[in-house]
Amino acid sequence: MAILYVNDKPVDIGSERLNVIQAAGRAGVFIPHYCWHPALSVVASCRMCLVEVGEKKPDGTVAMQPRVVPGCQTPAKDGTVIVTTSARAQGAQQQTLESLLLNHPLDCPVCDKAGECLLQDFSYRYGKSTSRMIDEKNQPPNKDYIGEHIALFADRCIMCSRCVRFTREVSGKAELQVISRGHHSEIDIFPGEPLNNKLAGNVVDLCPVGALCSKDFLYKQRVWFLKSKNSVCPECSTGCSIHVDANKDIVYRLRPRENPRAQGHFMCDEGRFDIGYINARARLKEPLSRQKDKQVAASWESVISRLRIDLLDAARREGKGVAAVLSPYLTCEEAYLLAKFMKGLSPEARLYLGWVPVEGEDDTYPKDRKGRPLQPVKFTIRAEKCPNRRGVEEILKHFHGEVLYFDRALEAAGAGEMQALYLTGGYPPRLGEWLPAPVVEKLTKVPLLVVQDMFTSAAQSSAKYVLPASSFAEKDGCFVNHAGLAQAIHWAVRPGVLARTDGQILLDLMERRELMHAETLRKDLGAEVPFFAPLKDGVLGDLGIRLAV
């Protein structure tokens, strides 16, 4: 039990070890700060969080400290009195902001951060509107190159050193440093050591002003045009919580979303910058069906009805010969629908887990200068490059009793045991061709091959039907990450005019006359498959729900 008084309001923080900023946050009082970040060490260098702090004595008297102190560096304990509204505290905030703005170029109209810039927000809320600076501003020139993805506008920097601490404490290689001292301080890299580690993109999110910008996003959009949706990064089984920022059906950037149950505060560059494929021109846009030796575009109505009849025929001829490959890029809801559909065709239908891409080994951070991983691990990029292997596996276990892997499917196809195969893909092109030539060879022996994928691949040459798949940014559903955490994804952009989402295609195939609604399907899934029982309310919240491990 530790009771604090924030602006005369008592708040109980229990036995938690909090600083004054966090403790005031519990009382609903926001203390502005730049250099402090919950995942980084405390330096108390920006002086933005100056507040008045005192102590309530057992006899009821309050002894205030004679000066303002930085909230990030002051531990909150029983009886601490925090005052943020006094003239002295507010004066300190104003003076700090005036000092931070002395050399700031105020080029907000051309700055990418404008709109989500803490310097703008705090100046508006806590600062004064005029500067008394009469000397010329000290504006160091922009650095030409500090990294593949990062641009540094040195004149906008307020020297909070968040980026420097991030590269030292989380990514570990310590590429960034503060050069020169005092008035002339600048952020820079060590000569010949650019900021190119796999977590480098996070410094853009960490930067409270527009000094570090992403070259990928630079000048693409003003941030106030973007609409943000909560989602999950599909690039590895860590399942980082993210925001998908999109405007007019184009995904412009991904940002990490703080989630202590998933990855923490950050995300890696592999996931962050791999968004080009979502709006790529080469995406499959409409269903194709084979007529004689050519694949021609067809309407959904004809494709769905003919495909359904073909599958039913195949199942009637030989139930064991009908199979589906469930890609680990499918959401749990889609995998559930596909499994249910196949088992509905024939209880003997076989279900396989799709290709699980694995690249090297788990990549842990921080790393030292030579690239050796250090303890304690603060961030992991997993070798398994798909978001939902666990979820799909659990569905396969429930519907098929065991998990059959992709190579078993190829064996069966190669041996000519398959009458019909529903093959789902949806792998981002970064992973390369997921169906090498020998595999395609085996697939040609399947008389009725249905391929559902985002891009044209070799397998389609022998496919009877090709259905366009949707990317993670176009669908609703949930992914189960490596640790069994189920997190919801939400659509941020619409699929092409002639495309349908994966879930909708399956619903149409099952002749369930309804629109894809992930929450309803999740309720069904939770009620039917015991592993997903915690999802039976359908609601996952922002942080997700941990399923039984």
Binding site: L106, D107, P109, L218, Y219, K220, R222
Partner: protein, 183 residues
């Protein structure tokens, strides 16, 4: 819903007197107005031959101002398209090829048919790059023709800036240099 009978008030036209029924005073009154305008100051403008003199704050076709080196003054900050209530300004920004600024508009298109000529873009512009001119007789044969791109908006500047009717009204902004020095 039918109107309730007791809510209706019937009004009868007032009875006219003898003088009114003669109509002569009314005719005289009408003729007086006609004669006054026949011999008074002429106000009709013979439009295509005769151009109207518009007030200096008239809001007509937009132009994109040039700086003193003839480059487009706009820095692609999107303030105009943010302020625009008709959502008719479409900008694509790019890193600028010039060293004195960071950003410039690669594409700048105004849909003149969609625009409501409210002048908010002009007010929002932090570097006085977009201005409304007194050109009002805007015609085109297709919708595409009325999508004014950067080159066309700059050519409006070239046509109007020196003519005298639309001098560069605004002062130099802090983000860019004035079109004319010391203005």
């Amino acid at each position: 819903m039918p109107i309730n009978e007791n809510e209706v008030t019937w009004v009868k036209p007032p009875r006219m007197g003898l003088l009114e029924r003669l109509y002569l005073p009314a005719i005289a009154q009408g003729l007086q107005t006609t004669l006054k305008h026949m011999f008074g100051k002429k106000v009709t403008q013979q439009f295509p031959e005769e151009r109207p003199k518009l007030p200096p704050n008239y809001r007509g076709v937009h132009r994109l101002n040039r700086d003193e080196q003839g480059r487009v003054k706009c820095v692609a900050c999107y303030m105009c398209s943010t302020a625009c209530p008709a959502r008719c300004i479409d900008i694509v920004a790019a890193p600028s090829p010039w060293p004195d600024r960071e950003k410039y508009p690669e594409v700048f298109v105004i849909d003149e048919l969609r625009c409501i000529y409210c002048g908010m873009c002009e007010q929002a512009c932090p570097c006085d790059a977009i201005e409304l001119t007194s050109l009002f007789d805007l015609t085109g044969l297709s919708r595409e023709e009325m999508m004014f791109d950067k080159e066309k908006l700059l050519s409006v500047f070239d046509q109007t800036a020196t003519k005298g009717e639309d001098p560069i009204r605004t002062k130099s902004g802090k983000l860019s240099i004035a079109s004319e020095p010391n203005v």
